[in-house]
Amino acid sequence: MIVSELSPEELASRLASPGLRLRTGPVVTRIQSRLTSVVQGVALHYAHYAVEGEGSFADFRVRVASPHSLRRWLKPQVYFHFDGASPFLPLPANQAFAMLEWGLNWCVSNHCHQYLIIHAAAVERSGLALLLPGPPGSGKSTLCAGLASRGWRLLCDELTLLDLATGSVVPLPRPISLKNESIDVIRRFAPEARLNPPVHDTVKGSVAHMKAPEQSVIRGAEPARPRWVVLPRFERGATVSLEQQSRARTFMRLAENAFNYDVHGRRGFELLANLIATSDCFECRFSLLEDAVEALDGLARRT
C-alpha cells in the first residue's frame, strides 16, 4: 500500500498514533506527528511511498512534536524525537517538515553502517550512477533537482549509500531540499515539479523541498553502478565547464565527505578506491542550470 491510498483522515490518524511506517529505499521509519504541517508534508512528498504494516520492523522511530508546556503558545517550537530522546535543540514550529527531513537524514547517516555513506547527491541513467559530492553552496542539490527533472533517475539528494559488497549505489529517494535562489531556479526550470511552500529564516535561509519524481520511488530498489563523480561548483556568471579532475584528489574528496569512512577502515578505503578506479572524475563549474544539465547529458551520451 502507498501513502496516497490512505484517506487524509486515515493518514492524520495513523501519524498521530501509532505512527506511520514509511519505507524510503532500504529504510523503514515509524513517523509520529500530530502537527498539520507535517501531515501535509508527508501527504505531498511521500504520496507514492510504501507504507509497511503495523507489526513490521522499523529501523527508526521518530516523532516531530511541540513541547508539553506553556512555551508552545508563547513561542511555538518543534522537537525531533528519536527513540524517545531529543538529539536536537528545537526549531520554530513552521520548520516542522524541514526538521523531519533533517532528522531522517541524521538517523541514516549516524546509524546505517551497513553502508558506506557519502554526503553527496546521486542520479542514474542506463544503470550508471553520477555522484555529486558537494558542500552546501556548491550547487549540488540544484543540479540534482535539475537532472532529476530531465530524465535522470533520482537516487538520493543528501546521502549516497554504497553497498559494501558490490560497491553499487543503493537508492534512498527522498525529497530534494532547495534553498534560497535555487527554489526559484527550479520552479522556472521544472514548472511541473511539486514543491511545498518555502519556510524562511532557517539557519540555511529559505528552504523548500521538491517532491522526488514518482519513477525514482517506484524504482527505489534498483541499485546503480558508479560511473562518474562530478564536483559541482556554482559560480555566478561563470561559463559552464566540465574539467577532468585527478582521481586521487577526488578519492580524498569522497573520503572527506563520507560520514562513516572510518567505521569501515580498510574496507572503506578499498570500496572508494574501486569506485574511483572505474569512474571518470570532473568538476562542473556553472552559472546557468540548463548549461550544467546539458553538459552532464553530453557526458553520459559520450561514455
Binding site: 531529543s86 538529539p87 559552464v240 572527506e256 567505521v263 570532473f282
Partner: protein, 195 residues
C-alpha cells in the same frame, strides 16, 4: 595540476578519458618539481566512539570536514557544577572512585564528583585533574535521560580507565581506534566537542 581541455561544438570543454595522453614515468615523477611537499593531504581518522556536536541544523550545514556532525544537548563541567543536587542523575556526593577506576591519583578517588567537576581535583597533577573534570561531565551527560550525548557511560569509563592505567597526567593515553593514540590534550579536545 594540469588539465588539458578541448572545445566541443557546444562550447563545453572536457577531455574524454580514453584520449588522455600517456604520461611518461620521468615526466610524472617531476610533476610539481622535486621541491613539492611529499604529503599533499592527510585525512585524519575520526574516532568511531561517537559524533561531534554542532548547532541545530548543523547537520545540514556540515562542512566537508565534519559531515554528519550530530547535534548534542550535553552539559559542560561548569553547567554541571552550577546545578543543584536534585538535577544531577546521581548524587553530587558520589565519590570519584565509585564511578572511575583507577582512582589512586593523590586523593582524587576520595573526592566527590562535584568537587572534581568544579575543577578542584586533588590528584596532585593539574593535567590529571583537568581530564578528570571532563570525564565527570561526560559521565553525567551519558547518565541523564533526555540528553543524547554521543558517548555511553561505558565509553566514558573506558576512556578514563585506559588513560589512568597508562599513567594519567601527560603520559596517559587512550586509543580510540587501532593505531591512533591520544594524549591528555586530544582526549580533552574530543570530550569538549561532545557537549
Amino acid at each position: 595540476m594540469s588539465s588539458d581541455r578541448i572545445k566541443g561544438p557546444s562550447g563545453i570543454t572536457s577531455r574524454p578519458p580514453d584520449q588522455a595522453p600517456p604520461v611518461s614515468g620521468r615526466r610524472r615523477l617531476l610533476q610539481g618539481g622535486l621541491g613539492a611537499a611529499p604529503v599533499l593531504m592527510t585525512l585524519v581518522s575520526r574516532p568511531v566512539l561517537g559524533q561531534t556536536c554542532t548547532s541545530p541544523s548543523g547537520f545540514v550545514s556540515a562542512t566537508a570536514s565534519h559531515p554528519g556532525a550530530a547535534i548534542c544537548t550535553g552539559r559542560t563541567p561548569s553547567n554541571w557544577a552550577a546545578l543543584a543536587n536534585a538535577q544531577w542523575p546521581i548524587p553530587q556526593s558520589t565519590l570519584f572512585s565509585a564511578q572511575f577506576q583507577p582512582s589512586n591519583f593523590g586523593t582524587l578517588g576520595a573526592q566527590t564528583l562535584l568537587a572534581v567537576v568544579q575543577g578542584n581535583g586533588t590528584s596532585g597533577n593539574p593535567t590529571t585533574d583537568t581530564v578528570a573534570q571532563a570525564v565527570v561531565a561526560a559521565l553525567l551527560n551519558a547518565m541523564t535521560p533526555g540528553l543524547t550525548p554521543p558517548l555511553s557511560v561505558a565509553a566514558v569509563r573506558d576512556i578514563w580507565s585506559e588513560y589512568g592505567n597508562t599513567g594519567a597526567g601527560t603520559a596517559g593515553i587512550f586509543t580510540p581506534t587501532a593505531g591512533a593514540v591520544w594524549h591528555w590534550d586530544e582526549i580533552l579536545g574530543y570530550l569538549r566537542t561532545t557537549w
